[in-house]
Every structure is written in C-alpha cells, then in structure tokens.
Subunit: 695 residues, 2 copies
C-alpha cells in the first residue's frame, strides 16, 4: 500500500486539456496544492496541464510512474490497464464507474480487470472510487480539492463512498482536526478495506483510523486485525436495513451483513461504532482526549436550562452525577460567593462572568478522584467574550492533559463565531449537550470494551471429539441428508455439551421395552422434517408406557395426512426436563464474518423483542457472560420477578462450547440448541433439542 500513499510519480489516464475534464482537475489539484512528485496526463491528445505534460499513450510516459490513475470510460479501462501492465506500472487506481455497481452484466469486465492485474502482478484500488490522499505530501487523487490542509495530521480515513469521504474530510477541517491519510476504495474488486486498514495500523504517522463502510468484504480479517489494535478505530457502518441492501449494492457493490453481527463484532474488538455522520465527527473529536474511565461526571453550566438538558442526556447514557464532597464545596466557596445559585452538581455558573473562576472550578472538579469526566456548557456573547473563550479553551486543554480526564465542552454562541472558534482552535467543541454526552459515552464505552478485550486472555480451546462428529458427518454425506435430532444431540455431546439423555426406538412396540424414568417426551426423527413441531412430531409429559405407545401411534397416524408425508427415521424418547428459564444458543458460518454464536432467551424475548446477543466465535467465558449482560432480558436470568437466579455460568459454558464447535468444525454451517432450559444456580442447564446442518 505504501506507494498508493507515497507515490514519487503519478500518471492520470483520461486527462485532457479541457478544464471540466475530471482527469485534468486531478492533475491541476496536485500541481496547485504542491505535490512534489512528477505528474503526467495520458489522453487522446498531447498537451499540457499547468506544466504537467499530457501524452497520447501510456507507452510514451517518460518514466514508469509509481501509480496510474484511470478515469476514462469503463469500457476503455481494460485496454489502459493492459497498457499499464506492459509499461511495467504495478499500482493502479481505477476511478471510473460503470462496473458491477451498475449491473451484473458488467461482471465479465471486472473479471477481465482481475485477469490483467494477475498477469502483470498489478495491485489496484477501485473501480468506482476517488483513490487516496496523503495530506503530508500534498498528494490527492480525488477530483475534489482540499487546499490548505496542514501537514502532520494523524487521523486516517477509509471510505466506500467518495461523496461521503469528501464531506467528512471537510467536516474534520471545520473542527480543527487535521486528516493525514485518506482512501476511497469503491467497489473493492481487488484491494479492499482490509488491505488499507492493515497498512494504516502499522503506519507510524497514523494514530486514529476512521472508516465509512457500506459493507465488509473480509469482515473476519478486519476483525482479527482490529482485535489487536491499540489505535482507536471509528467505523460508521451504514446500509443497515433491508431497505438499503439493494441500493448499496448498486452504489459500491457492498456486501450487506446482518447489522447485529456487526454490532457484536465491534463490541468484541472495541471498535467505536458511529451511528451516523454526526457521531462520526463527534467520535473523532472525543477520542483525541484522555478516555473516560468510568461513568461518574460533573456538570458545569453557564445556563440552568442547558444544565437540565445535559443531565437528561447523562441519564440517557447511564452516567451518574457525582455528589460534590463538602471539601470541594468549601473550596469553590473560596473561589466565588453566590447568593442565588446552590453549590451542587450540576453547578450553575450563570452568575459568573470572570473566566479565571471557570478554570479554577474546572480544575477543582477534575481533581476529585470520584469524577471521571466533565461536561461544560459554555454560552457566550461573541462580541464581548470571543477572545476570553479562546484562552479558556486553551486552559481546558492544559487541564485535560494534566488530569488525564476528558472535558466535553458544549459551545452555544452565534453561528459565525461557532464556526470560527471550531476551526481556529484545537480543543474539540460540541454544539448541543446531547452531542457532548453522547461523545463521552463513546469514550467510556471504548474504554470499557478495550479493557475487556485486552484483559480477557486467549481462548482456552474446549476439547471436541472430532472422531465422533466425523462419523456422523460421513453417514449424513453418504445419505445426503443433515443429522437427525439424535445425531445432532450427539454432535453437541462431542463438543462437551451435556444434553438430556434419550433412547431411540423405531416403533411403538419397541418403545414398550425401553427402561426410562417417566415423565418423558417423545420426538419424531425424520430427515425430512427439521421442524418437528410443525408436523406434530413432538409430544410432551408422557407419564407411562401406555401413553408412550399411544403417542407414537398417534404421531404415525398424523403423518399419514401430511403431504408430503415425512419420512420416519425413528422416535427419540427423553426424560422431561425440570423447570427453568427457556433460552437458546445457536450459530452459523457467516459469509463475511465467519463462525458466529448467538444466544438469548426464548419466547417473547426472541419473537417480539428480537433480544439476542451475537459474537464472533470462538469466545471466552468472559465474552459469553458479556453477551448475557447485553440482553435486555438479563434481569430474568438474575432472578427478576421473584424467581430464582438462573445458572448463568452453566449457560455461558454452553455458549462457549457452541462457539468452539463452530470455529473448529467449519463444516457445521448452522447449529441451533433450542430450548436450552437454564435451571437455578448450580443446577445447570437441560438441552433437549438440537439441529445441525452440514455444509
């Protein structure tokens, strides 16, 4: 990737002397901006763009440029690529659109590009993108222009949409955040987000990586890298709903992933998820400050009304308001006297117009060990207080460094002043109390997730009886079917998951001979009916052999009336499980993120509230516990509603083992343990049903 960010020379293919030509604009931008490498144009006619020569063929270029940028119509791209290959060019950015984002029919052209790249050992970004920018060397491949950006920025950005990318770059600038490296990767036909991400993780000039993604091409590889990153990673993943999937497809051929999988992945790897564009910029602002290490805040406000709004926002994010200790109140009383406003948290500074007092009070608040972060509402009149406000913000910056705690400042002033102060001083500002609190929440959440990630230790592999699974798999393969219920339960057992024992019989008669403690349940085993209950293949609470025989005969009769009639491979007789909370554990091989594990409570929690937690497998016990804590229904497991506390440990153990199974035996494309009946503490779980699908 290095040469895509530090090209010593570039050729823009599809450039002409016409001023509205996009290739022309790219050449011009680099010339005007001060890019010091050589830059050439290649177009249909020879000429000159601001001193850069334009040649009428790739062949005529006076040197082999580090990067060629192709911005000619789609149908001409393969030939130009071929010419680049012949010339010996090894790095190409294809900015042209009109490939798979438009219609599937263009896929053959994409194949051709890959074939040419393979043949000449070319690495390329795109098509349908605006390429890279390296502000440090004033190099910019997009046709958008970002003049006057200072060098030395340490915030990198990877985007899947050039339009979004350029507006975000501009917004960073409007907030005095200097961008360093930028890449818009478009259709990701060859190089993708992971290639750029991996480079930026290692790049010594990058501290923070931000991304706007509509889909991940290699989610698992991205996750594995992110897991080990000490650099904060901020990702806005759009294309979240069923409504968007088809559009994003046409836009940049983004692979849509289940949004809940993305949430799980981000939480595990401590990736900061920006919900929208405002969040994206807020995250980039707050993450430059020391992190908030817990959720106890002090609120200082120059307006009582804004203090109320701030505290509302704090409540929303689970912050607690520190009770100011008496010593603190005594100290601030020595700093200023008031008759009107109480010395409490939030502290209303409405009466004070002396800025040195703000700084003193802020410092006292930061000194308090029980304060993890401060929210400061700064309302001011620009005509009187503009200069003082700038000095104050410098002091805030110094105090934040000194005490290593974040201070989120909300500035309320007239719009021209707000714009001006945001652009011209470096301390990050927010424009509403909610935005400030949300930013602190991102900081605190990142700290929590990163700490959990970095302290959870490696996975201790759970033993799996591979031979047992292999045997069932062979049998299923031979018979071209998925495992029957009893086989699925054996696979779970091979993964160390204890299921309720059962006996398999072929007939009502055979059932009469089995030695089992009643009450029992009986279930159809059928290669053709994976949802047994849909065909009436499950009978519960059978109290004796007579009822058992009746149940089996009854089922057989029922099946005669079902079309197509389900094949009967036998009947599984199991002891009825004791009472407990009905839960489930499942998982699958996700095409983007690899093995994932899913858990939650059954019934209305699953069906009405979609209350599930997802993680990328395998997971440790602490991750499994975290999954459960994430559930809205967690209080039920903890014994809400006057019930006993459930055996959460045992439940977590099952989740871990399922995750291990999916990671180790990737031929298992889907597994579903449902219900997992979680009994009270120390009484374990009962797993009475399991479904497994092989690849």
């Amino acid at each position: 990737m290095e040469k895509f960010f530090y090209p010593r020379s570039m050729a823009v293919i599809g450039a002409s002397v016409k001023r509205t030509n996009l290739g022309h604009i790219i050449v011009l931008n680099n010339r005007r901006n001060g890019y010091e490498g050589n830059i050439y144009g290649v177009g249909s006619k020879e000429g000159d763009i601001a001193g850069a020569p334009v040649f009428d063929s790739v062949d005529k270029l006076p040197e082999v440029p580090d990067v060629a940028i192709i911005i000619s119509p789609a149908k001409t791209v393969p030939d130009f690529m071929e010419a680049c290959g012949k010339k010996g060019i090894k790095r190409i950015v294809i900015e042209s659109g009109g490939f798979s984002e438009y219609s599937k029919g263009e896929r053959t052209m994409e194949k051709k590009l890959l074939e040419i790249a393979d043949r000449y050992n070319i690495r390329f970004i795109g098509p349908n993108c605006v390429g890279t920018v390296n502000f440090d060397i004033k190099m910019m491949m997009p046709f958008g222009f970002f003049p006057g950006t200072p060098t030395g920025g340490r915030v990198a950005m990877i985007v899947q949409s050039g339009g979004v990318g350029s507006s975000y770059l501009r917004e960073l600038g409007d907030n005095a955040i200097i961008p360093g490296k930028f890449a818009a990767i478009g259709n990701k036909l060859q190089l993708d987000e992971v290639d750029v991400f991996e480079y930026l993780l290692k790049d010594e000039k990058t501290d923070i990586i931000t991304m706007y993604m509509e889909g991940f091409k290699r989610g698992r590889a991205f996750f594995d890298l992110a897991l080990k990153s000490d650099k904060p990673i901020i990702v806005q993943k759009s294309n979240r709903s069923a409504l968007t999937a088809s559009i994003a497809q046409s836009h940049t051929t983004a692979l849509s992933a289940d949004d809940t999988v993305v949430d799980g992945c981000f939480r595990q790897a401590a990736i900061i998820r920006a919900e929208d564009d405002i969040d994206f910029i807020s995250a980039a602002k707050i993450i430059r400050l020391p992190l908030m290490k817990s959720r106890r805040v002090a609120v200082l406000s120059r307006s009582g009304g804004h203090a109320v709004m701030t505290v509302d926002a704090c409540a929303k994010f689970g912050f607690s308001l520190v009770d100011f200790p008496p010593a603190f109140i005594e100290t601030i009383k020595t700093i200023y006297h008031t008759r009107i406003i109480a010395h409490q948290n939030p502290l209303d500074l409405g009466e004070i117009f002396d800025y040195t007092i703000f700084t003193k009070i802020l410092e006292e608040a930061l000194k308090l060990p029980e304060v993890d972060g401060v929210l400061f509402n700064h309302l001011y009149v620009s005509s009187y207080e503009a200069e003082m406000s700038r000095e104050f913000l410098s002091s805030v910056g110094r105090l934040v460094e000194q005490y290593q705690k974040p201070v989120a400042v909300t500035v309320i002033t007239d719009a021209p002043e707000l714009l001006n102060i945001s652009r011209t001083q470096r301390y990050p500002l927010f424009t509403t109390p909610l935005m400030a609190a949300k930013a602190l929440n991102m900081s605190a959440t990142y700290y929590e997730e990163k700490t959990a990630r970095d302290t959870r230790g490696g996975n201790i592999p759970y033993p799996i009886d591979l031979a047992a699974i292999s045997k069932i798999k062979s049998l299923c393969q031979a018979e071209k079917r998925n495992p029957l219920t009893d086989e699925a339960l054996q696979i779970a057992k091979a993964a160390g998951i204890r299921c309720v024992p059962g006996v398999t019989v072929k007939s009502a008669k055979e059932a009469g001979t089995v030695n089992i403690n009643f009450p029992v349940a009986v279930k159809l085993l059928s290669r053709a009916a994976s949802h047994k209950s849909d065909v009436g293949g499950v009978r519960l609470k059978i109290n004796n052999h007579k009822e058992l025989a009746q149940a089996i005969s009854g089922m057989k009769k029922t099946f005669k009336n079902i079309s197509p009639r389900p094949a009967i491979d036998g009947f599984l007789i199991q002891k009825m499980a004791d009472e407990g909370v009905e839960c489930f554990v499942g998982g699958r091989q996700d095409p983007v993120f690899g093995p994932i594990v899913i858990a939650g409570l059954g019934g209305v929690f699953l069906e009405i509230f979609k209350d599930t937690a997802i993680r990328l497998a395998p997971i440790t016990k602490s991750e499994a516990m975290d999954m459960l804590k994430n559930l809205k229904a967690y209080p039920v497991l903890q014994g809400a509603r006057g019930k006993m506390k459930a055996d959460i440990e045992a439940f977590a153990d099952v989740i871990c083992r399922v995750s291990q199974l999916l990671s180790t035996v990737t031929e298992v494309v889907e597994i579903d343990l449902n219900p997992v009946i979680v009994h009270e503490t120390d009484k374990g779980v009962s797993i009475v049903d399991c479904r497994v699908f092989f690849r």
Copy 2:
C-alpha cells in the same frame, strides 16, 4: 397578556447609569432597537440611559407604565412591587432570581409577592425570568439583545429558561425563521405557561407555538387547550429523568411529571414532542411546509453514499421507498440519459450537473400520487454552485407549494456557505440525512395524530352507578380504610366493568355452604393487606369444597406467623378464569395532568420492558385502541407466536370504562385491575382482582 406583548410604556426597576447594570442594558436594548413606546428607568440615583430618564423612585414616574420590569436584588422586590401597586401599575415582570429556585426558605417571600399582587390586582410574570419580546414592535425585556430581527414573524416561543430561550431565538434566526412573540416565564409563581399559551392560541399574528418546558404547572389546562388547537404546537419537555428532577427544581421550580404521562398527553393532543434542541429547530423548520400525509417517500441524492444513509434513516422511521412506476422512469429518461446509474428509488443524481434537471425530476417525483414526501441530498461546491443552489431552493419552495407535499433538503457543502445559505434564503435546510428524515417523521406523526384527534369525536360517557360507589365510599370513610377486594370489584362493576363473580365468606365453615362451580380461587379480604399475594393471601385452582376449607384454614395459620398480623375481613371465593393474555388496566389522579389511565400486558412486558401506554382520561374507544397499538407487545394481542387473536375490543372497552370512572369519580385516586385476562376474540375478558384507593 396583551399588555405584556404590546406595552405602550415600560419602567425598568433596578436600572442605573452603569453600563454593566442589567436594567441599564434592557433600557438601552429597547432604545437602540427602535421600540417606540416610552421607557423609563427606576434606580437608586436619577440619570439618563440613551435618552430615557431614570428616576429614583417608582412614585416619580411621569405616567403609569403598562408594564414594570423589576430586576433588583430579590429582597428588594416586595417593596418595589408595593410601590408599583400604589402607583397603579397592573403588569409586572420580575426578572430577579433568588426565590424558591434557590431554597425553600424563600417561599415566604414568594407568598408575600402573591399577597401584594392580590391586593393591587397585579398580574405578574416570573420571578427568575427574562420576560417577553415582541419583535413586531421591537420590544425586548431580556437583557440579551436580538438586533435586526425582521418584523412579521409568526412563530411564537414560550420558555422556562432564559438561556435556552435566547439560544433558540438565535438558532431560529440562523435558519431564516422569523420569531414573532417570545416569553420566558421563570418560576411561574402567578402567570404560567397556560396563560401565555392561551393568549398565543388566540393571537392572530401567531401561526406556530414552540415551547421549552422543564415542567408543567397546569398540565391538564394545557392539554385541554392543545386538544382544540389548529396551530402546530412544538414542545421540548426536558427534565425527563430522576437525575434531573432536583436540579430543575432549583433551576426554575419546575414540577416534574412522569415522562410517560407527558408522552401520552402529547400524542393525544397532537403536540409535537422535540426530543432535544436539534429536534426543536428541525420541527420549527418542517412544520412550515405542507404535512406529510403518509409514509411513502422518494429519495433523490447527488451522492450514492448519502443516499444509503438516507434510506437507513427512512427505515428507522418506518418510511417505505416508493417503487418508481415505469411511466415515471420513462419520463426521467427523457429528461436525462445515464449509462452509469440505475433509475431507481433512491435516485442517484451524481452524474448530473444541470440544475434544471434536478427541478424537473423533483417535480415528476412530487407528481406521483404514491409519493407523500421527498428527501433530497444536495451536495455542492460553493465556489461554483452557490447561486444555482439558491435558485434551485426557490424552485423547490414553489414546487412544494404547488404539490402540497414536503421536500426535506439536506445540504452538504462547506460550513461558511452552509451558514450563509441557511440564513439568507427561506426554504428550510437540514444538515444530515438523519435529521431530514427525522423532521419528515415529525411531520407525518403530527399529521397522523392530528387526524386521529380531530376525527375521534367526543367522549360518549359510559354510565356509572354513582350511588353504589357512594355507598362503599361512605362505609370506607366511616371505617377509615380503603375498599377491600370485593368492594373494589363492586366499584369496577358500578363503572360497567364485568368482573369474575365471587362469594364472600367469613370462615372455612361458611365456605362449605356456598354453591359455586369448581375450580375456584380464594383470596383474603383484609383492610391491612392490599397486596394479598405478599402475605400468602391468594390460593388458586381449588377443585372441591374440601380443598377450599383447607385453603382457608391454611391461610389463617399462615397469618398467625406474620407480623403485624393482617386483619381478616373475610375470604373471596371466585371461579377460576379461563386462559388468556395477562394484561392490566390502572389509573390515578395525576397532580399535574389530572385523571390518567394506564394499560399494558403483565409479566415481563411490564416488569422488564416497562411496556405501558398512558392517556389522559376520559378516552374514546379509538384512543384505547391506539394505546394498545402503541405497545411493543401488541403483536401478542394480535396472536403472534401461534396463539389466538385476543379480544382487543373487550380489553379496550375496559380501558375506556376505567378512564370514565377516574374522570367522573375523582375521589378514586388510584385504581388497579390486575390481572385483566384477555381471552380470544369474542370471548371477552376476565377481571379477577381490583384495588381501589380513595382520596
């Protein structure tokens, strides 16, 4: 209120010639701004402020001003008020702080103010406020200055915080929305939000009423007025959490109300609730456009990435994307050709740079009967497209008027241009796709709620047997207790609510003689145990007389071991109810909003998810149905999870009758029917338990 907005003369008490004096600033603001009425100062020394004379006593004022503004220290206010009374001044604004918002000890001073006002027949706003502004006559009581605001604005604002009010006024201006009348009402000791609201509802120069409230003093009166309002009402109600209640108290002595009650009230009266400051301004912007009459949208975007974000936002608010009909696609193909982008919704306009095409396509989209509103993402480069963008927005405004459908335009450009265009042209702009979609959601929700409100008709009073209730009340009063379970069930019956019949007995022996169909339930009747089940006072599924006698004796034994031992007033024997969905209906007399009714499903829905719906009583059947539809658990009533559809009509009927009872018999301060077992369609409900509390 008229004179508070149209004073022909004003005196500012507490004004001095010192330039930092707040009273001085108020006089100066009015002089500089062009207020044409007479304005005087009253202070400790005589003098002159920009031509306005300052007198050293109220008595010396050369006329009786329409309004006196008091901004002197709190302790001096009563004397000044007395002096105003003697002078014959009938309208006062007390801007001074330091009353009950500071400490309860100052309440005596508040009482004194009320007493003086009573004596002289004075109407006053405040204390602790900044008073009113009438931009039409350039009159401004706050010490903040809003120069150059045009006249003729038709948006009014009532706020409870001067700081919030002035920042919102400024923000309106930054969005080319001209404010008309403004009132900051502070502690609302005498005049309150309802007085100002009532005036503005009638005011012919006000079209839209916006409010920032931290609490309602007279919630019910506000609701009753709002119910009949044809003017859109936008309210940001902060002070939503337990965390804020005590602060808002100290800030402006706001009465905190249960936030869910506020939600119910707003929905019923079609009041637009702004969640935060951004929403507040967004609502004021969108509500000036024609309303969105359903939720079908077209998305037009100059950037594919922003189109994806927009559609994500649409999904969030339950919008559907219209499938463009073939005729529409044919039409736009005649408007422009493309090779690169598909003609679909969202429509990516990335290739087009001709603004006349934007207008044509927008018009075609608005023409489609299946389109209720349009989201347009307008990204542009200010150096080239600033002028064209202004013309385009004028065209958008014309089309919106012509087709009477809203178009929410998101503008993405550099910050100085954004500020400039927002201020200088009148079409409302949004700055992120989410904000635009959220605004359209407010428009659509307002339309839905207003339509429901205006078509639901009046309440048909349900008959109530007042004599029966009165009898029980008298008995309870005589015995100084609340109704026992059987009496509570009789009260419900008197309100037309059919409960499961029961027989009351005094002993196990008497129980043996009752003629009832088993199985039955038996419940303790006790004046000392309203939660029967907490003391073991409920036994279910009793199958015969023997079990019944045992149950009653068993209970009696249990009570002997409970301290204090519950009084035994008898035992209620009821037939066991059939199966159904366990729900509840309750209600109370809310101190702010009067009678309210609450309903929902029991179990985890109530206890874990707090899934309840609240309305102000009495309600019509359609409101009761709307309550149920608002529940997250509504699918359960509709028969999700393979169950039968519940008798929603019968459930709604119970809710209406409870609401009627609370409205008619206000001595019932609380009622709780729990459980209300809702059976399948046409099978009604079974109410087996009821608690009632009298005042």
